[in-house]
């Protein structure tokens, strides 16, 4: 549809552009998908990404200190994300706080940690490799896009071929059965949140590479966008259905939508509204075929 309305939309350049723009969202969505599969929800992306963005920008070559850890710094940032995920998971299984609140709390903690590290001066990165991620291209797509594609692949492998992924799926399907079968569910829940956290951590690093600086707000808006993308892709909020590939499709849909709206020149005021409408419509369309009278919808 957008292709008709705007010839530019079809251009190869724009396709590249759209795929590139989808990179970060794809990584975040990958992570959130695992949590959604369990039937939980994760709102911690914004905070975790902020914290990891600041961490990485302070650990690789930058204008604030003499660190130059390169890949190691990136690893630390991803691990930090992982640790935040663990925190959410532990709050869920040990304190029995619903994931909605636990992750909201962790998000606030993440933003706080990020603000602490920010300390009033923006850390700009000068690490050539990290900056290069956003600029260098391979087969026409930026490295970041390839990283995102790898993440989707890794996510799919995790989901299909590992116990963690299959159990995340099963927890969403029938958690009580796992317990009856002698599976200790709690460690897997924590692990799933940790994996999701690692994805957010990486996403934070990617945003830093794109912006060339560590921003506390690196992840703002990504939490709801990722949930939207996952849901549009067909991953249910109730858990047990969907998956990483579904979500990847959802991400592309959302990005095409945003890009298309700009391309056909929809007024910026209306853009958010049209996006909202289309998300609702997409889900409604997906629901119609399986609509039955007595189905429970929450």
């Amino acid at each position: 549809m957008f292709a008709v309305l705007s010839p530019r939309f079809r251009s190869i350049e724009n396709v590249q552009n759209m795929v590139d723009a989808a990179a970060v969202l794809a990584v975040v969505t990958c992570g959130i998908t695992f949590v959604l599969l369990m039937g939980s929800i994760d709102l911690s992306a914004a905070g975790v990404m902020g914290a990891s963005a600041l961490t990485v920008s302070l650990l690789v070559a930058n204008n604030r200190n003499d660190n130059d850890l390169g890949l190691l710094g990136i690893g630390v940032a991803v691990l930090l994300g992982c640790a935040f995920g663990c925190l959410s998971g532990l709050a869920l299984v040990l304190l029995k706080v619903p994931s909605f609140m636990a992750t909201l709390g962790v998000s606030a903690v993440g933003l706080g940690v990020a603000t602490l590290m920010f300390a009033g001066v923006q850390p700009n990165i000068s690490d050539a490799m990290l900056k290069g991620w956003a600029i260098e291209r391979f087969l026409g797509l930026s490295y970041l896009t390839w990283i995102a594609a790898t993440c989707v692949l890794v996510g799919w492998l995790l989901q299909r071929y590992t116990r963690l992924g299959r159990y995340a799926f099963a927890i969403g399907g029938a958690e009580e059965v796992l317990a009856l079968s002698g599976v200790r569910v709690k460690p897997y829940k924590v692990a799933v949140f940790a994996v999701a956290g690692a994805f957010y951590g990486l996403a934070g690093v990617m945003v830093t590479s794109q912006l060339g600086a560590g921003l506390v707000q690196a992840g703002s808006g990504y939490d709801f966008s990722a949930i939207t993308a996952a849901v549009v892709g067909g991953t249910l909020l109730t858990g047990g259905r969907g998956g990483v590939l579904h979500s990847a499709v959802g991400v592309l849909l959302v990005v095409v939508l945003t890009n298309g709206l700009v391309q056909i020149g929809v007024s910026p005021y209306w853009q958010g509204g049209v996006e909202g409408l289309i998300v609702v419509a997409a889900v409604a369309a997906a629901v119609i075929p399986q609509r039955r009278r007595n189905q429970v919808v929450k």
């Binding site: 369990m38 039937g39 939980s40 929800i41 905070g47 709050a91 869920l92 304190l95 029995k96 706080v97 619903p98 994931s99 909605f100 609140m101 636990a102 909201l104 709390g105 962790v106 998000s107 606030a108 903690v109 993440g110 933003l111 706080g112 940690v113 603000t115 602490l116 958690e175 009580e176 709801f224 949930i227 939207t228 849901v231 909020l237 858990g239 005021y269 209306w270 853009q271 958010g272 509204g273 049209v274 996006e275 909202g276 409408l277 998300v279 609702v280 889900v283 409604a284 629901v287 609509r291 007595n294 189905q295 429970v296 919808v297 929450k298």
Partner: protein, 302 residues
């Protein structure tokens, strides 16, 4: 339990800054909390039905714009008109949720974006000043010189909703819908109507909260209340209402809203730096939920 969390928080703040426990300071907290209480209490009904409303803040923002635009023309009628408009927005979302069978999370997530867009367009993306605020000024009065009128009105709203639930079969219907929608439906409960009703109340609550905001800020803005969404949801959960539906009450949300308000305004005022304030906010919210959740009523925590 939410009361214990509330008391603990007040004591902690009072220890951190003895000046916090003065009458004026508490009055200010009460005044501040009023819109959040109304938002949270009204949205509690949807949570009790097992859904969630992410659009309350956007409805409230839009309502502030509408109120500011309508006050010069409608005068005193603007207030009921805005509440009516907000309630009908709620109704539309409720109908979409029920008829199209889209999860409430998605309907209201979409609603949030759509309503924000409408608010931007209607207001011309700018603040609408209220020059003559005489018709909403009564909310800024102080009852007996101490209690802010807005807080009293918030309590009245909570009490009215609670009474409505207590005295009519609605409580049974809402709980049944929240605990087990299929069982409720097969017992002939008007599940769809109950849900739409909950959305209407939620919308109306957002409208009323908007009136409080306008009376406080003398203007309406398309993003004015947007940042109240997560605090309102937090208030509901901190109060101990199960996010899975069924178990909970509006009184709990009242306590929850006070806890959240104390955290939002209390921490910076007693001198916690902003970075630590966010960390503390996150930690305290999680602890508060731990304290207030009635585990015996909720088997599996998602």
């Amino acid at each position: 339990m939410p009361l214990i969390a509330l008391l603990a928080l007040v004591v902690a703040l009072a220890i951190a800054d003895p000046g916090f426990l003065t009458q004026r300071s508490l009055t200010a907290v009460a005044r501040t909390a009023a819109p959040l209480i109304v938002l949270a209490a009204a949205a509690t009904l949807i949570v009790l039905c097992g859904g969630i409303d992410l659009s309350i803040a956007a409805v409230a923002s839009l309502s502030t714009v509408l109120l500011a635009l309508w006050l010069p023309h409608l005068g005193g009628l603007a207030t009921p008109a805005v509440i009516l408009a907000a309630a009908s927005i709620g109704a539309v979302q409720g109908v979409a949720h029920v008829l199209l069978r889209i999860p409430s999370f998605i309907v209201t997530l979409g609603g949030m974006s759509i309503l924000s867009a409408i608010a931007l367009v209607v207001s011309g993306a700018g603040t609408v000043r209220v020059v003559d605020d005489s018709t909403v000024k009564w909310l800024e009065l102080y009852v007996g010189g101490y209690v802010p009128m807005s807080f009293v009105m918030a309590l009245v709203v909570v009490a009215l909703i609670a009474l409505m639930l207590k005295l009519t079969p609605l409580r049974s219907w809402i709980s049944a819908t929240g605990y087990s929608e299929s069982a409720a439906r097969l017992a002939g409960t008007p599940v769809d109507l109950v849900k739409i009703g909950a959305f209407v109340v939620s919308g109306a609550g957002a409208g009323f909260a908007a009136i409080m905001l306008v009376s406080r800020q003398f203007s309406g803005g398309p993003t004015m209340a947007d940042n109240l969404l997560l605090p309102a949801v937090a208030a509901i959960v901190v109060g101990g209402t199960a996010i899975t539906g069924g178990h909970g009450s509006v009184w709990r949300s009242l306590a929850g809203a006070l806890v959240v308000t104390l955290l939002r305004v209390g921490l910076p005022i007693v001198g916690v730096p902003s970075a630590y304030e966010q960390i503390l906010y996150g930690v305290v919210i999680v602890i508060a939920v731990t304290l207030t959740l009635d585990w015996s009523k909720v088997s599996i925590i998602k």
